[in-house]
């Protein structure tokens, strides 16, 4: 059977690309170091496929048809279509993994989830900034879009359960694939709101502490209560929660947290230590 070989999380703020030159040297060093460490760990895991959970930033979907969760099952995905992203990340297409995606879909449907399906998804900066900045050569990707940007949102508890379901899907996937899971986005930031530019570092630190403590129920309660009170971008922590669920709610290790006002994001990077296979 396939193996869950790595679980990761990373921020993806667009200004990390668009305004890199205005990021202070100290913050450039912190972000570069964090992305490099993420890349080192992902390469060391020798993954055959990577499941990336990210929001869709109005690239594939609109309010006329807005899935809460969508799985990209295509053989090929479209590369990013944002002009500023295309300059840095020139892949017009990225490989998918239809067999793994289909197995995830079947496992989801057998587990009480009814996700939407896309046979040709465009992977925007949320998917591609971590790949670009961590220096990861494109590998087969199963993209999972969570609606993190337009209320109402999937509940935090269901995002955790989705992650647990991903782990079961990987465990029951025939073959010997090495599969990784990456939650992309967060931590606190605010986009297009009165609080735009505000980084809520205290919330971020509390959030990280909940991930480290490994009590999923307490983490879900904390986020369910606090997400409505902080900037809208923090909603992407749902993707970290799914990664946490995939890791069984244990083993969270912070690679770096830096509140970076220049990119208006509390930037977080993490990897989970997974139990040895029995």
């Amino acid at each position: 059977m396939a193996e869950l070989a790595g679980v990761y999380a990373a921020s993806h703020g667009p200004l990390i690309i668009r305004k890199w030159d205005s990021v202070s040297p100290a913050h450039q060093l912190a972000l570069t170091g964090a992305f490099n460490e993420l890349g080192r760990r992902i390469k060391a895991a020798r993954l055959d496929a990577l499941i990336i959970i990210s929001p869709d930033h109005w690239v594939n979907f609109f309010i006329d048809n807005l899935p809460m969760i969508c799985v990209g099952v295509g053989e090929t995905h479209g590369g990013p279509n944002e002009a500023w992203m295309m300059k840095e990340f020139s892949h017009q297409s990225l490989p998918g993994h239809p067999e793994l995606a289909r197995h995830i879909l079947d496992t989801a449907l057998a587990s009480g989830f009814e996700p939407s399906v896309s046979h040709r998804m465009i992977l925007d900066h949320g998917f591609c900034i971590p790949l670009l900045k961590a220096g990861i050569d494109p590998l087969p990707i199963v993209p999972v879009v969570f609606n993190d940007i337009e209320p109402p949102f999937p509940s935090v508890a269901r995002c955790y359960a989705w992650g647990e379901m991903l782990a079961r899907a990987i465990d029951t996937m025939p073959g010997d694939l090495r599969v990784g899971v990456l939650g992309s986005g967060g931590l606190s930031h605010s986009v297009g709101e009165a609080t735009m530019g505000l980084i809520e570092e205290e919330f971020d630190r509390e959030c990280i502490s909940h991930f480290e403590r490994g009590n999923p129920a307490a983490l879900c309660d904390f986020l369910t209560q606090r997400l409505p009170q902080v900037g809208n971008g923090a909603s992407e922590i749902r993707n970290w929660v799914a990664a946490h669920g995939a890791a069984g709610g244990r083993g969270f290790e912070l690679i770096n947290y830096s509140a970076v006002p220049e990119v208006i994001v509390g930037c977080g990077f993490a990897a989970w230590t997974l139990p040895a296979r029995t």
Binding site: H57, W58, V59, F62, I63, D64, A83, I149, E150, P151, P152, F153, S190, V191, G192, E193, A194, T195, M196, G197, L227, P228, Q229, V230, G231, N232, A234, S235
Partner: protein
């Protein structure tokens, strides 16, 4: 659930297309004519009334739109900060 003006959201969504954005920057009226915007909403677009529009549109689309419309980031941030409660539903 937050209040959403469909035509306004659609305008902002469509303007992510670089060709449409260029047309818009060259002359707003011709583009705005193609959307069934309520008169007060169109007036707010024409007046760059960030606070008014913020109540009717997804905050990410609002942010994209003012980038496309050519408002400097600093100016957008200054205006959005003065619009108490902009963004509507937040994360809940």
């Amino acid at each position: 659930m937050s209040k959403r003006d469909y035509a306004l959201n659609k305008l902002f969504f469509d303007l992510q297309d670089p060709a449409k954005a260029a047309e818009y920057r060259a002359g707003r009226a011709a583009v705005l004519d193609r959307y069934a915007l309520k008169p007060e909403v169109r007036a707010a677009v024409e007046a760059d009334d960030v606070g008014f529009l913020a109540k009717l549109v997804n905050p990410y689309l609002l942010r994209f739109y003012f980038l496309v419309a050519g408002m400097p980031d600093d100016e957008f941030m200054r205006r959005i900060r003065t619009t108490a409660g902009a963004g509507g539903g937040r994360n809940g």
